[in-house]
Assembly symmetry: C2
Homo-oligomer: 787 residues x 2
């Protein structure tokens, strides 16, 4: 449109284009939509990675990003490169580099995520075993690796002669009360040391490294800026702290933080590619892929990871990203498998293989497990949120390290005596998922049966005393784990809750499973069991119930659906059990939704007041745009006129108000909307004009000229049409808020202008929308964190 | 807003509310956004399933739907039900029924899809075998079932004494040249009979039943109305025709049409639930789930089905739908597995189990296979589109049945002599995917090796003469299948191309695989092979290459990505082979994209001119809304003024123009936008007013009054503010088209109004957008099919 009016800039009017861009970067302040390729040189410098121009495509901390604007910037950049590509070989190479950079970036993210996950797995495994003993000949080996070199065949009990427990290191016995006390003490001391280290590191170097990080990543992906949350210090401290906190025996998992770690890697690596590093909207494509890779390495579940990213954390997820996320997740899983930190052959974390398929009537206990899981999850969420709110608003929040130490001490003291809480939680889950075969010597498998052969069918049998004893221990473990996890999730160390949730569900499921199994054994003639259980073979597999229960609790806590089922299926390799898993997940989600609206992540988002506009919640109210817009009745809207305000007027307005942008109208009287200008651009443009142009005084008229007409005022005047966005998104005052909310979500708006019969009435910003949603849900609208 | 101004309707002004709704349904013509609960009674009648009110929420044939409007209608209905729920037990039950209806509907769709898929599988299997012979004792059994009752152990060759081939039925020999000729003739005659029946049924009863249906379903899901395309006749004829055409031995598959069949079921069953049946936008949620169920039963791949629906066919896919689609797909797969039409134990279609994992260097041939697959796919797409275009614009299109018969005759004559084309394509794929074990007696496995035991490792061996002979036959089969599929896809019988594509790729892959295997056997010392292939065991599995090749060609043809890999993985149960599959799929897609922009479905959409606005294609051009809007320069925009036109004026405008809607402005001079009114509503409202109200003449002023002010003209006047949409979506004339296209896609718009400084300049409809996209891509903008 500028080229159509050459007489305008050829006039004596000083236009913005004539100015020399010194501090002000035209690549940033150029009009966002209505230029063609005028900013070539600047785009070029932006592309080649100059860092000396401040503020390119950057936002301030705790601001929301403008998706439309960022994506438009990227398309402009892309068009420029495509056009430039024909000029020289070098430009062609740069074009190819640009086209590939998305793939190269996710490849790097995948590789790094895989390697870091391997490091964490190896470190956590070694340090977890360090609580129990050491491998004197090679202290860097964990118990399993230490015993590989041993010829003992007694590995099942985890004790081989190479591996020395702490009492043995001190010259004592492996068994006996003295040894028990020494082991107990060592266990507690190591746990405290690890936890203290972890908490101190987090407190000193990277406060953002605590927690699981998933609520924050959801918020960041929805278009919010939290500086440093995905930075290198957070990454380093989170990795080290995670190894320490997992090893300390606290009731937490490393799976959620893995998503945060992968996202940090995604953020850091995206800076190698200006296309992504300098564009917040594009960067979120990489972060989505990284989140998928995080889940992929956490569970060895690449498909589940992609679905998790799609369903749970991502906001803007174009289909192109789906394919790239899958690639990233797969590479990460592949690298981790090549590192093979656990040294087992199966690619899945909890590989299970059951002899018997499930029977149709078992859907009843499975749905029952789903209901139990939903209840456990709701108790957990409510109690955890209550405690976190207490921590937030009380003195407790000022002593994070002390809190960590107290929780660790209590956990260690209570956990050690019970073998099911003493062992690694992953091992516990694996034990509970397994069916009782010939090689399983745990008390849980103390049935009155004889095995004739490894491959023979498992006969139906009565539970022995070991099973009943184990059940009591498991009930205690369930209560302990539930209580400790409530207090643990939210303390200031890296901690996730996938594994604790799975463990809670697995315990409950196993108990129910043993119950059903014994029912079927004792009453084989009841019509329910008579079909399948009348032969001598065992027809009920308690391990399957553990798996279903685990899915139920995890589903209730996180409210994942498809991704949960796919993760469980990839986690266990049990392709036949999708239907039971799905039945339990559905029941659990429904119970959870009925008892409490939010999953744990959404609850933490609400608790922390993150400005997250959930794309899953439907806006149910009947308010109109006119009810939500600023200014309210009796206030006036701050506007700029297109051709009648002086520089002084504009500067006064900038001083007196704090809006991030101002609508430009034809005149104060008519209020017909011309466009929208950002505060930041205005400030920069006026400061620059004052410095570089002659004849700019406070009385100079500022012109955001519209199309065609000569400016009404005589020169000198300051033409600022290049910083005017002439295509702001508008709605009418009668538009229902559900449509407005939909537009904010789907178009990624930062603000929209409200008009009536063409006249400007007000502005709705994302902050206004979020506050309105809170208000409608009877929550405090001022709790939203925002700048 | 109406309740705020009671004096308005209490005046002598005749408002629309006062009228008795006789033919006109206020539930449909009520203002879409700015009412609260005024339409209760009508909403209620709409809810209880009255069918006598014509046109509720319906669109004309070949129109696009207005997603915003439909979703708003549904939210209003939902709010009404929630509000009503507290009134009585009956309303509570109705509310619960409404809340559950989505799940019940997809449950029904899943169950029906599973059953229909079972019927098709059983029918097609029986009729395919009928070409070769019959089971005289029980003619309804296919060969496999017939031989089950037999004690012969020679099942491998497919011949048992119970099963009589046609020469035997006629009293002749099973072997010998005479028997061969008789079998050949019977094969051809049966094929012609089946094909003729299928084509005639389609031609006579349901022309929409031909083809795969996926391009049309993509278009329908994107918000287009094609009446009858998902109707009951289409369903019945498609099922019967599909069984016949698959049995006729044509080079086609039943997987694509299964998606169409499931969508028909989804459409028909949605009418049981007014929430979905009467709301085109909501109905598409069910159709998305049905499409997932279709793929799920076609391949036994529920997760792949959901991803296919998400990635390939769906358009509007809220996350709630993801979970429901998964449920639907799972139920369908579960029902089909319970029917167990193939009688085998594995739940996957082509269960494979290879002894050896793949080796890292094999990624090179896998990527090579991807490139080959991409080339084959491109040849197929280009040739098929060329032929379909020729058919469309030449006389050939007038003789569909003759064309089918000719293609069938040629296929049958050429296919019979070659055992690999004679056999069922699914069997061929299974054979090619398999590794050569001890039980495999096909010439493809004629290696110079001895098996000592079923469980022993397979030794490396030189290929025998049988393998070389088989390779030649496979090359011939590849050429034949490629050529015949080009001519077959698009003829007027139900036909899909998943299975033919898989077969093409599997043949190419197996040939490459045997080549690599023999290279490794003959040059075991070459550094590539020396690591893994230096022992005596076989290190290369040609069956894996067939699998990878199949994925490559299918990926190249359809341009599926994640869903392809997941389907292949579920299809074969090969969890270890995701990386090779992914490598090949990526290579194939890139080659395909480089050689020809579109996948087969998009190419067919373009060929048929369906109004499909692809959500994956980015709009790359720099045009502005002002360039696209109607009217162009020198034309005038048809508008209605808010309070100065008479009934006659409006009726003249309706007669003289054919727009689907008219903007309402303050006055012709100012052109400030007030709202938007639909042609259909205007017509109905005026006709109704003339019939039911006194004092309505041609001179009566029509008022679409804005807010607040008294109408300017004296009574009598016709208040039509209830049919005015006061919240139309607007953009400014300077908005770049990429933003406009984005808004059309994401908000599902039917039209948007273009303004400049508040004044109305023009309208952009979806048709304008589609034509502009075509024009920018240098295609004929008038080829878009639209009313």
């Amino acid at each position: 449109m500028f080229s159509a009016e050459p007489e305008l800039s050829a006039n004596s009017v000083i236009t913005y284009e004539d100015m020399e861009p010194v501090e002000l970067d035209p690549g940033d302040t150029k009009p966002l939509f209505n230029v063609d390729y005028v900013g070539d040189a600047v785009l070029f410098s932006g592309m080649s990675g100059d860092d000396d121009i401040p503020g390119i495509g950057q936002y301030d901390d705790f601001h929301t990003i403008d998706w439309q604007r960022d994506i438009a910037r990227d398309r402009m950049r892309h068009r420029y490169i495509v056009k430039k590509r024909q000029d020289s070989i070098w430009d062609l190479i740069k074009g190819a580099h640009d086209a590939w950079s998305g793939w190269v970036c996710v490849l790097l993210v995948g590789v790094c995520t895989g390697i870091v996950a391997g490091v964490i797995d190896i470190g956590a495994s070694w340090m977890t075993d360090l609580k129990f003993g050491i491998c004197p000949q090679a202290f860097w080996l964990n118990r399993e690796q230490c015993c590989w070199s041993d010829t003992d065949t007694t590995f099942d009990t985890g004790n081989c002669s190479q591996w020395l427990t702490w009492p043995e290191v001190l010259g004592g016995q492996r068994q006996g009360p003295g040894a028990y006390i020494i082991s107990y003490l060592f266990y507690i001391v190591w746990a405290l040391v690890f936890a203290a280290l972890s908490a101190s590191l987090v407190r000193m170097f990277a406060p953002y490294a605590c927690g699981s990080g998933i609520p924050e990543i959801k918020t960041i992906l929805s278009g919010f800026i939290i500086r440093g949350y995905l930075g290198k210090w957070t990454l380093i401290i989170k990795v080290v702290g995670l190894i320490l906190s997992v090893s300390s025996g606290l009731s937490l998992g490393k799976e959620g933080p893995m998503v945060h770690i992968a996202s940090c890697l995604g953020n850091i690596l995206s800076y190698l590619f200006p296309k992504y590093g300098r564009n917040e909207a594009k960067k979120r494509e990489i972060l989505s892929a990284a989140a998928a890779a995080g889940v992929s390495v956490a569970f060895g579940a690449p498909i589940g990871g992609v679905l998790f990213s799609l369903e749970e954390v991502s906001y803007y997820f174009p289909l192109k990203t789906l394919w790239r996320s899958f690639f990233c997740a797969l590479i990460a899983a592949f690298i981790l498998r090549s590192i093979n930190p656990f040294g087992n052959e199966h690619s899945v974390l909890f590989f299970v293989e059951y002899n018997k398929p499930w029977i149709f009537f078992e859907l009843i206990p499975f749905v029952g497990l789903g209901i139990i899981g939903g209840c456990i999850a709701t108790i957990f969420i409510k109690a955890n949120i209550f405690w976190c709110r207490y921590r937030k608003f009380s003195k407790l929040g000022q002593y994070p390290v002390t809190e960590v130490l107290v929780v660790t001490l209590v956990t260690a003291i209570i956990a050690y005596p019970n073998p099911y809480t003493r062992m690694n939680t992953s091992e516990l889950i694996y034990l509970l998922f397994n069916q009782c075969g010939i090689s399983n010597s745990d008390p849980l498998c103390d049935y009155n049966r004889n095995f004739t052969d490894v491959n023979s069918a498992i006969e139906k049998a009565a539970a022995g005393p070991g099973v009943y004893h184990a059940i009591w221990l498991l009930v205690l473990a369930l209560i302990l784990k539930l209580v400790m996890t409530i207090f643990t999730f939210g303390i200031k160390v890296p901690c996730g809750l996938f594994i604790p949730s799975l463990a809670l569900g697995a315990i409950a499921g196993r108990i129910v499973g043993i119950g059903v199994e014994q029912l079927a054994y004792n009453y084989p003639k009841v019509w329910l069991f008579s079909g399948e259980c009348s032969t001598g073979d065992d027809c009920i597999t308690p391990g399957l119930y553990a798996m279903v229960g685990a899915a139920a609790v995890l589903g209730g806590v996180t409210r994942m659906t498809v991704s949960l089922v796919v993760i469980m299926f990839e986690l266990t390799g049990g392709v036949r059990y999708i239907v039971p898993l799905m039945a339990a997940a559905m029941a659990s989600k429904w119970v959870g939704d009925a008892l409490g609206r939010q999953g744990i992540y959404d609850a933490h988002i609400a608790l922390n007041g993150y400005p997250f506009l959930d794309s899953k919640d439907e806006f149910q109210h009947t308010s109109l745009a006119a009810d939500v817009m600023q200014p309210k009745r009796n206030e006036t809207l701050s506007v700029i006129t297109q051709d009648s305000m002086t520089v002084d007027d504009v500067e006064t307005l900038l001083k007196e108000t704090e809006h991030n942008g101002y609508p430009v109208v034809v005149s104060k009287e008519s209020q017909y909307l011309v466009g929208f200008v950002l505060r930041r651009d205005l400030n920069l443009a006026i400061a620059n004009a004052r410095r570089t142009m002659e004849g700019i005084t406070g009385q100079t008229i500022v012109i955001f000229a519209g199309t065609g007409n000569q400016p009404l005022s005589p020169p000198p005047c300051l033409m600022l049409n290049r910083i005017l966005d002439m295509a702001p998104i508008t709605v009418t005052d009668q538009t229902p808020m559900e449509t407005v909310v939909d537009m904010f979500r789907k178009l990624g708006l930062r603000q929209t202008l409200v008009t009536h019969n063409g006249r400007l009435l007000g502005v709705i910003t994302k902050k206004d929308v979020l506050r309105h949603v809170k208000q409608m849900d009877n929550e405090d609208p001022n709790s939203v964190l925002f700048n």
